[in-house]
Amino acid sequence: MNKPPFEQLVSRHGPAVYRVCRALIGPVDAEDAWSDTFVAALQAYPQLPVDANIEAWLVRIAQRKAIDHARARSRRPVPTPGIPESGSSNGLVRERDEDLWAAIASLPIRQRQAVAYHHLAGRPYAEVAELIGGTPGAARRAASDGIATLRKRLASEVQKGQ
Protein backbone atom coordinates (compact mmCIF):
# COMPACT_ATOMS: atom_id res chain seq x y z
CA MET A 1 0.00 0.00 0.00
CA ASN A 2 1.28 3.42 -0.95
CA LYS A 3 0.92 6.65 0.92
CA PRO A 4 -0.94 9.13 -1.28
CA PRO A 5 0.69 12.43 -2.29
CA PHE A 6 0.03 15.06 0.38
CA GLU A 7 -1.85 17.22 -2.10
CA GLN A 8 -4.57 14.58 -2.10
CA LEU A 9 -5.06 15.07 1.64
CA VAL A 10 -5.42 18.80 1.15
CA SER A 11 -7.94 18.49 -1.64
CA ARG A 12 -9.96 15.70 -0.01
CA HIS A 13 -9.93 16.82 3.60
CA GLY A 14 -9.02 20.51 3.46
CA PRO A 15 -12.63 21.72 3.34
CA ALA A 16 -13.73 19.52 6.28
CA VAL A 17 -10.76 20.65 8.36
CA TYR A 18 -11.63 24.28 7.61
CA ARG A 19 -15.25 23.70 8.67
CA VAL A 20 -14.04 22.16 11.92
CA CYS A 21 -11.67 25.05 12.67
CA ARG A 22 -14.33 27.62 11.87
CA ALA A 23 -16.93 25.95 14.06
CA LEU A 24 -14.47 25.66 16.95
CA ILE A 25 -12.95 29.15 16.94
CA GLY A 26 -14.83 31.29 14.39
CA PRO A 27 -14.01 32.45 10.89
CA VAL A 28 -11.26 34.94 11.83
CA ASP A 29 -8.86 32.50 13.48
CA ALA A 30 -9.97 29.48 11.44
CA GLU A 31 -7.63 30.22 8.54
CA ASP A 32 -4.58 30.38 10.79
CA ALA A 33 -5.60 27.20 12.57
CA TRP A 34 -6.19 25.49 9.21
CA SER A 35 -2.78 26.39 7.92
CA ASP A 36 -1.12 25.44 11.23
CA THR A 37 -2.90 22.09 10.94
CA PHE A 38 -1.70 21.34 7.41
CA VAL A 39 1.85 22.57 8.02
CA ALA A 40 2.09 20.28 11.07
CA ALA A 41 0.52 17.43 9.08
CA LEU A 42 2.92 17.95 6.16
CA GLN A 43 5.83 17.83 8.56
CA ALA A 44 4.69 14.62 10.26
CA TYR A 45 3.27 12.93 7.16
CA PRO A 46 6.29 10.79 6.20
CA GLN A 47 6.17 9.15 9.65
CA LEU A 48 2.42 8.50 9.60
CA PRO A 49 1.68 4.75 9.34
CA VAL A 50 0.28 3.85 5.89
CA ASP A 51 -2.87 2.36 7.38
CA ALA A 52 -3.66 5.39 9.56
CA ASN A 53 -7.11 6.95 9.45
CA ILE A 54 -6.07 10.17 7.75
CA GLU A 55 -9.17 12.25 8.38
CA ALA A 56 -9.23 11.33 12.07
CA TRP A 57 -5.54 12.24 12.29
CA LEU A 58 -6.15 15.63 10.65
CA VAL A 59 -9.13 16.40 12.87
CA ARG A 60 -7.04 15.57 15.93
CA ILE A 61 -4.32 18.00 14.81
CA ALA A 62 -6.95 20.63 13.99
CA GLN A 63 -8.44 20.28 17.47
CA ARG A 64 -5.02 20.94 19.02
CA LYS A 65 -4.27 23.91 16.73
CA ALA A 66 -7.71 25.44 17.27
CA ILE A 67 -7.27 25.23 21.04
CA ASP A 68 -3.85 26.92 20.70
CA HIS A 69 -5.45 29.77 18.79
CA ALA A 70 -8.33 30.12 21.20
CA ARG A 71 -5.83 30.35 24.08
CA ALA A 72 -3.71 32.91 22.27
CA ARG A 73 -6.80 35.00 21.59
CA SER A 74 -7.96 34.90 25.20
CA ARG A 75 -4.53 36.23 26.26
CA ARG A 76 -4.79 39.24 23.97
CA PRO A 77 -5.57 42.46 25.89
CA VAL A 78 -8.43 43.78 23.74
CA PRO A 79 -11.18 41.29 23.08
CA THR A 80 -12.13 41.19 19.40
CA PRO A 81 -15.27 39.64 18.02
CA GLY A 82 -14.71 36.43 16.10
CA ILE A 83 -16.32 37.75 12.95
CA PRO A 84 -14.57 39.12 9.84
CA GLU A 85 -14.81 42.87 9.39
CA SER A 86 -15.27 42.75 5.65
CA GLY A 87 -16.87 39.64 4.33
CA SER A 88 -19.64 38.83 1.95
CA SER A 89 -21.07 41.72 -0.02
CA ASN A 90 -24.62 40.60 0.69
CA GLY A 91 -25.80 42.26 3.90
CA LEU A 92 -28.48 39.66 4.57
CA VAL A 93 -26.05 36.79 4.18
CA ARG A 94 -23.57 38.54 6.45
CA GLU A 95 -26.12 39.10 9.15
CA ARG A 96 -27.12 35.47 9.06
CA ASP A 97 -23.42 34.50 9.15
CA GLU A 98 -22.77 36.65 12.19
CA ASP A 99 -25.75 35.08 13.96
CA LEU A 100 -24.45 31.66 13.04
CA TRP A 101 -20.92 32.16 14.37
CA ALA A 102 -22.22 33.88 17.48
CA ALA A 103 -24.63 31.01 18.04
CA ILE A 104 -22.03 28.29 17.72
CA ALA A 105 -19.54 30.25 19.80
CA SER A 106 -22.11 30.34 22.62
CA LEU A 107 -22.35 26.53 22.78
CA PRO A 108 -20.45 24.67 25.50
CA ILE A 109 -17.12 23.54 24.03
CA ARG A 110 -18.01 19.82 24.08
CA GLN A 111 -21.18 20.44 22.09
CA ARG A 112 -19.33 22.65 19.63
CA GLN A 113 -16.69 19.95 19.16
CA ALA A 114 -19.24 17.16 18.82
CA VAL A 115 -21.17 19.12 16.18
CA ALA A 116 -17.97 19.95 14.30
CA TYR A 117 -16.44 16.48 14.35
CA HIS A 118 -19.60 14.53 13.65
CA HIS A 119 -21.73 16.78 11.47
CA LEU A 120 -19.02 18.74 9.66
CA ALA A 121 -16.16 16.23 9.45
CA GLY A 122 -18.30 13.10 9.33
CA ARG A 123 -16.48 11.35 12.17
CA PRO A 124 -18.45 8.52 13.79
CA TYR A 125 -19.48 9.03 17.44
CA ALA A 126 -16.93 6.47 18.65
CA GLU A 127 -14.16 8.65 17.21
CA VAL A 128 -15.78 11.85 18.47
CA ALA A 129 -15.77 10.31 21.95
CA GLU A 130 -12.04 9.58 21.67
CA LEU A 131 -11.43 13.20 20.72
CA ILE A 132 -13.54 14.88 23.39
CA GLY A 133 -13.56 12.20 26.10
CA GLY A 134 -16.57 10.32 27.48
CA THR A 135 -18.65 7.64 25.83
CA PRO A 136 -19.95 7.50 22.26
CA GLY A 137 -23.45 7.89 23.68
CA ALA A 138 -22.43 11.08 25.46
CA ALA A 139 -20.83 12.35 22.24
CA ARG A 140 -24.07 11.68 20.38
CA ARG A 141 -26.07 13.62 23.00
CA ALA A 142 -23.60 16.51 22.92
CA ALA A 143 -23.97 16.75 19.15
CA SER A 144 -27.74 16.58 19.18
CA ASP A 145 -28.03 19.07 22.07
CA GLY A 146 -25.71 21.38 20.15
CA ILE A 147 -27.74 21.15 16.96
CA ALA A 148 -30.99 21.67 18.92
CA THR A 149 -29.63 24.83 20.55
CA LEU A 150 -28.36 26.19 17.24
CA ARG A 151 -31.71 25.49 15.61
CA LYS A 152 -33.56 27.32 18.37
CA ARG A 153 -31.23 30.29 18.45
CA LEU A 154 -31.18 30.74 14.71
CA ALA A 155 -34.96 30.37 14.45
CA SER A 156 -35.42 33.11 17.05
CA GLU A 157 -32.86 35.32 15.26
CA VAL A 158 -34.87 34.95 12.06
CA GLN A 159 -38.04 35.98 13.92
CA LYS A 160 -36.29 38.95 15.50
CA GLY A 161 -35.12 40.05 12.07
CA GLN A 162 -38.65 40.00 10.63
Binding site: P5, V10, E31, R96, L100, H119
Partner: protein
Protein backbone atom coordinates in the same frame (compact mmCIF):
# COMPACT_ATOMS: atom_id res chain seq x y z
CA UNK B 1 -35.60 18.63 10.38
CA UNK B 2 -35.40 21.27 7.68
CA UNK B 3 -33.90 23.78 10.11
CA UNK B 4 -31.38 21.14 11.21
CA UNK B 5 -30.29 20.65 7.59
CA UNK B 6 -30.11 24.40 7.15
CA UNK B 7 -27.91 24.81 10.23
CA UNK B 8 -25.46 22.12 9.13
CA UNK B 9 -25.47 23.42 5.56
CA UNK B 10 -24.69 26.95 6.79
CA UNK B 11 -21.90 25.68 9.03
CA UNK B 12 -20.49 23.75 6.09
CA UNK B 13 -20.64 26.47 3.44
CA UNK B 14 -17.26 27.64 2.13
CA UNK B 15 -16.74 30.08 -0.71
CA UNK B 16 -14.19 28.81 -3.22
CA UNK B 17 -11.80 31.82 -2.88
CA UNK B 18 -11.27 30.84 0.76
CA UNK B 19 -9.93 27.43 -0.25
CA UNK B 20 -7.66 29.00 -2.88
CA UNK B 21 -6.30 31.43 -0.30
CA UNK B 22 -5.74 28.67 2.25
CA UNK B 23 -3.85 26.59 -0.29
CA UNK B 24 -1.61 29.48 -1.28
CA UNK B 25 -0.72 30.16 2.35
CA UNK B 26 0.08 26.51 2.85
CA UNK B 27 2.42 26.61 -0.18
CA UNK B 28 4.23 29.65 1.22
CA UNK B 29 4.56 28.26 4.69
CA UNK B 30 5.66 24.83 3.45
CA UNK B 31 8.36 26.49 1.36
CA UNK B 32 9.56 28.62 4.27
CA UNK B 33 9.67 25.63 6.59
CA UNK B 34 11.54 23.63 3.94
CA UNK B 35 8.83 20.98 3.83
CA UNK B 36 8.23 21.09 0.09
CA UNK B 37 9.96 17.90 -1.06
CA UNK B 38 8.12 17.81 -4.38
CA UNK B 39 6.31 20.83 -5.86
CA UNK B 40 4.16 20.37 -8.92
CA UNK B 41 1.83 22.21 -11.24
CA UNK B 42 0.21 21.66 -14.62
CA UNK B 43 0.79 23.77 -17.71
CA UNK B 44 -1.24 23.94 -20.89
CA UNK B 45 0.58 23.23 -24.11
CA UNK B 46 -0.20 22.55 -27.77
CA UNK B 47 0.32 18.85 -27.00
CA UNK B 48 -2.12 18.85 -24.10
CA UNK B 49 -1.76 19.53 -20.39
CA UNK B 50 1.64 18.72 -18.92
CA UNK B 51 2.41 17.95 -15.31
CA UNK B 52 5.75 19.32 -14.17
CA UNK B 53 7.35 18.61 -10.80
CA UNK B 54 10.49 19.78 -9.06
CA UNK B 55 12.48 18.88 -5.96
CA UNK B 56 14.82 21.34 -4.24
CA UNK B 57 17.53 20.17 -6.67
CA UNK B 58 15.61 20.83 -9.85
CA UNK B 59 13.03 19.69 -12.35
CA UNK B 60 12.43 16.02 -11.67
CA UNK B 61 9.44 15.08 -13.83
CA UNK B 62 7.58 16.16 -16.94
CA UNK B 63 4.52 14.06 -17.73
CA UNK B 64 1.97 13.92 -20.50
CA UNK B 65 -1.70 13.59 -19.75
CA UNK B 66 -1.84 10.06 -21.09
CA UNK B 67 0.55 8.91 -18.37
CA UNK B 68 -2.26 9.71 -15.90
CA UNK B 69 -1.66 12.70 -13.63
CA UNK B 70 -2.78 10.86 -10.48
CA UNK B 71 -0.56 7.89 -11.27
CA UNK B 72 2.43 10.17 -11.85
CA UNK B 73 1.87 11.98 -8.53
CA UNK B 74 1.48 8.67 -6.72
CA UNK B 75 4.78 7.46 -8.18
CA UNK B 76 6.52 10.67 -7.07
CA UNK B 77 5.08 10.22 -3.58
CA UNK B 78 6.24 6.61 -3.42
CA UNK B 79 9.70 7.06 -4.90
CA UNK B 80 10.79 10.53 -3.70
CA UNK B 81 8.66 11.68 -0.76
CA UNK B 82 4.96 11.78 0.13
CA UNK B 83 5.40 15.51 0.77
CA UNK B 84 4.03 16.36 -2.68
CA UNK B 85 2.17 19.65 -2.96
CA UNK B 86 0.69 21.73 -5.77
CA UNK B 87 2.99 24.75 -5.50
CA UNK B 88 3.50 26.54 -8.80
CA UNK B 89 6.15 29.05 -7.75
CA UNK B 90 9.10 26.67 -7.82
CA UNK B 91 8.10 25.82 -11.40
CA UNK B 92 7.76 29.33 -12.78
CA UNK B 93 11.00 29.14 -14.80
CA UNK B 94 10.27 25.71 -16.24
CA UNK B 95 6.71 26.70 -17.20
CA UNK B 96 7.93 29.89 -18.84
CA UNK B 97 10.61 28.08 -20.82
CA UNK B 98 8.13 25.44 -22.00
CA UNK B 99 5.89 28.25 -23.27
CA UNK B 100 8.84 29.69 -25.17
CA UNK B 101 9.73 26.28 -26.56
CA UNK B 102 6.23 25.71 -27.92
CA UNK B 103 6.25 29.20 -29.41
CA UNK B 104 9.44 28.26 -31.31
CA UNK B 105 11.47 30.81 -29.36
CA UNK B 106 13.57 28.47 -27.21
CA UNK B 107 15.97 25.76 -28.36
CA UNK B 108 17.71 24.80 -25.14
CA UNK B 109 16.17 24.46 -21.69
CA UNK B 110 18.07 26.19 -18.96
CA UNK B 111 16.69 24.90 -15.66
CA UNK B 112 18.43 22.72 -13.06
CA UNK B 113 17.51 19.06 -13.52
CA UNK B 114 17.15 16.37 -10.88
CA UNK B 115 17.83 13.07 -12.65
CA UNK B 116 17.24 10.83 -9.63
CA UNK B 117 14.36 8.99 -11.36
CA UNK B 118 16.76 7.58 -13.95
CA UNK B 119 19.55 5.37 -12.63
CA UNK B 120 22.46 3.51 -14.17
CA UNK B 121 22.36 3.03 -17.92
CA UNK B 122 19.18 5.08 -18.23
CA UNK B 123 20.98 8.06 -16.76
CA UNK B 124 23.75 7.56 -19.31
CA UNK B 125 21.18 7.57 -22.11
CA UNK B 126 19.62 10.81 -20.83
CA UNK B 127 23.05 12.47 -20.89
CA UNK B 128 23.48 11.32 -24.46
CA UNK B 129 20.02 12.61 -25.46
CA UNK B 130 20.77 16.02 -24.02
CA UNK B 131 23.52 16.35 -26.62
CA UNK B 132 21.19 15.99 -29.64
CA UNK B 133 20.77 19.51 -31.01
CA UNK B 134 17.41 21.16 -31.53
CA UNK B 135 15.88 20.40 -34.92
CA UNK B 136 18.03 17.32 -35.60
CA UNK B 137 17.52 13.62 -34.93
CA UNK B 138 19.53 10.49 -34.16
CA UNK B 139 18.75 6.81 -34.45
CA UNK B 140 18.49 4.49 -31.43
CA UNK B 141 21.60 2.78 -32.79
CA UNK B 142 23.56 6.05 -32.86
CA UNK B 143 22.53 6.86 -29.30
CA UNK B 144 23.60 3.39 -28.17
CA UNK B 145 26.98 3.89 -29.83
CA UNK B 146 27.28 7.28 -28.12
CA UNK B 147 26.88 5.69 -24.70
CA UNK B 148 29.76 3.31 -25.45
CA UNK B 149 27.37 0.32 -25.48
CA UNK B 150 26.66 -0.07 -29.21
CA UNK B 151 24.68 -3.30 -28.75
CA UNK B 152 22.32 -1.82 -26.17
CA UNK B 153 19.88 -0.51 -28.79
CA UNK B 154 16.81 -2.00 -27.09
CA UNK B 155 17.93 -0.65 -23.73
CA UNK B 156 18.17 2.81 -25.30
CA UNK B 157 14.59 2.38 -26.55
CA UNK B 158 13.36 1.48 -23.09
CA UNK B 159 15.35 4.33 -21.50
CA UNK B 160 13.59 6.71 -23.91
CA UNK B 161 10.22 5.15 -23.13
CA UNK B 162 10.78 5.75 -19.41
CA UNK B 163 12.39 9.20 -19.70
CA UNK B 164 11.21 11.08 -16.59
CA UNK B 165 11.85 14.43 -18.32
CA UNK B 166 10.44 14.27 -21.87
CA UNK B 167 10.62 17.52 -23.89
CA UNK B 168 13.38 18.87 -21.67
CA UNK B 169 15.56 15.81 -22.26
CA UNK B 170 14.73 15.39 -25.95
CA UNK B 171 13.96 11.70 -26.43
CA UNK B 172 11.59 12.78 -29.20
CA UNK B 173 14.67 13.39 -31.36
CA UNK B 174 15.46 9.67 -31.50
CA UNK B 175 14.09 7.72 -34.49
CA UNK B 176 14.41 4.22 -35.91
CA UNK B 177 17.36 3.58 -38.20
CA UNK B 178 14.99 3.39 -41.21
CA UNK B 179 13.79 6.93 -40.44
CA UNK B 180 10.38 5.89 -39.11
CA UNK B 181 9.26 7.60 -35.92
CA UNK B 182 9.38 4.69 -33.48
CA UNK B 183 7.48 5.00 -30.22
CA UNK B 184 6.99 7.90 -27.88
CA UNK B 185 5.86 7.96 -24.27
CA UNK B 186 3.45 10.82 -25.01
CA UNK B 187 2.06 9.11 -28.11
CA UNK B 188 3.56 9.11 -31.58
CA UNK B 189 1.38 12.03 -32.73
CA UNK B 190 3.04 14.28 -30.16
CA UNK B 191 6.48 13.14 -31.33
CA UNK B 192 5.54 14.12 -34.87
CA UNK B 193 4.24 17.52 -33.69
CA UNK B 194 7.45 18.27 -31.77
CA UNK B 195 9.71 17.31 -34.69
CA UNK B 196 7.64 19.47 -37.05
CA UNK B 197 7.75 22.39 -34.62
CA UNK B 198 11.53 22.13 -34.31
CA UNK B 199 12.08 21.68 -38.06
CA UNK B 200 9.97 24.77 -38.81
CA UNK B 201 11.65 26.93 -36.16
CA UNK B 202 15.13 25.73 -37.11
CA UNK B 203 14.50 26.58 -40.78
CA UNK B 204 13.84 30.22 -39.97
Amino acid sequence: MMEYDRVVADLAEIDPPTLTRLHQRLEQRAERRDLLDVAFRTVDSPVGPLLIAATREGLVRVAYEREGMDAVLQTLASTISPRVLAAPRRLDDAAFQLDEYFAGRRRVFDVPLDLRLAAGFRRLVLAELTGIPYGSTRSYTQVAAGTGHPRAVRAVGSACASNPLPLVVPCHRVLRSDGSLGGYLGGVQIKRTLLQLEAAAAAQ
